[in-house]
Symmetry: C2
Subunit: 135 residues, 2 copies
C-alpha cells in the first residue's frame, strides 16, 4: 500500500476507473467568470471517457467547452470515518460530431433534473488520481 504525505492510501489507476464506473453521481469542477465552480451531475463512462448530459444554454455547457475541468466522485462512511475519492483532470469538450452524438444517444444516460438535455459533454480521463482513508 502506498501512502501520500497526508496519510492517505494512493489508489491505482485501475482501481480508480473501477470506482468511477460504479459511481452514480460525480461533480464537475470548472471556472465560472474567474471563480471556482462545482456542479453535481449524473454521468456514465463510455470507454475511458466521462459523458454528461445537460442543456445547451446552461452555465455548465458554456464553461466546459474546450476547458480544463476536474471531475470527482467519492463515497464516505460517517460512522466508520472511512471513504475514498477519485479525481479526473481533463479537457471538457462539447460533442458536436453527428455520428458521435448518435452513438452517445444510445447510452443509458438520462439526466435526473427535468427539461431538455440535448447537449453532451465528454471528458477524457487522462489524469486520474484516487485516495482512500486507511481503515
Amino acid at each position: 500500500m502506498r501512502i501520500d504525505t497526508a496519510g492517505l492510501e494512493i489508489l491505482r489507476r485501475a482501481e480508480c476507473l473501477r470506482l468511477l464506473a460504479a459511481a452514480p453521481i460525480g461533480r464537475i469542477v470548472f471556472t465560472d467568470r474567474a471563480l471556482p465552480a462545482i456542479q453535481p451531475v449524473n454521468f456514465t463512462l463510455h470507454g475511458a471517457d466521462i459523458i454528461v448530459r445537460t442543456a445547451p444554454d446552461t452555465k455548465l455547457a458554456q464553461a466546459t467547452r474546450d476547458s480544463v475541468v476536474a471531475f470527482e466522485v467519492d463515497d464516505y462512511d460517517v460512522y466508520e470515518r472511512t471513504g475514498w475519492s477519485v479525481t479526473v483532470v481533463g479537457i471538457g469538450r462539447a460533442v458536436t460530431d453527428l455520428a458521435e452524438l448518435a452513438e452517445l444517444r444510445t447510452l443509458p444516460l438520462r439526466a435526473w433534473a427535468p427539461g431538455d438535455r440535448a447537449h453532451y459533454i465528454r471528458i477524457e480521463t487522462d489524469i486520474v488520481t484516487g485516495r482512500r482513508i486507511p481503515g
Copy 2:
C-alpha cells in the same frame, strides 16, 4: 418555489446554511498549479464560517491561503433520483492568530485521515447557493 434555467429548485440562504451545518463531508475546490483541484474534507461550521483542519505542509493548506475557493456539500438518492447541493464561494484563509487558533481547537473537529492536523483553514460563507431536484 423558484426554479432556475436548468429546472432545479433554488434554495434560500437559510435552507443552504441548515443543510451545510448538517453535512459531515464537504469538498474544497481550489487551483493547483493552474489546474482545477478538488478535495473532500470533514469540517464544521463555526458561526457562519467553514472550518477545516489539515496538515501545514499539504497541497490543500498551501493552495487555500488567501485564495478564492469553492466549498460544496450535497446528498443524492440514487433510487428516487432526487437530491440537493449547496455551494459556498469565499476566501480561504490560514488561521494564524493565536487566540483564534485556541478557540478553534476547542471545536469538536477531528480529521478523519491520520497524522498531524495542526493547520486550520477558515472560509467565510459570503456567497451561498443551493439547488434541489424537484420531487
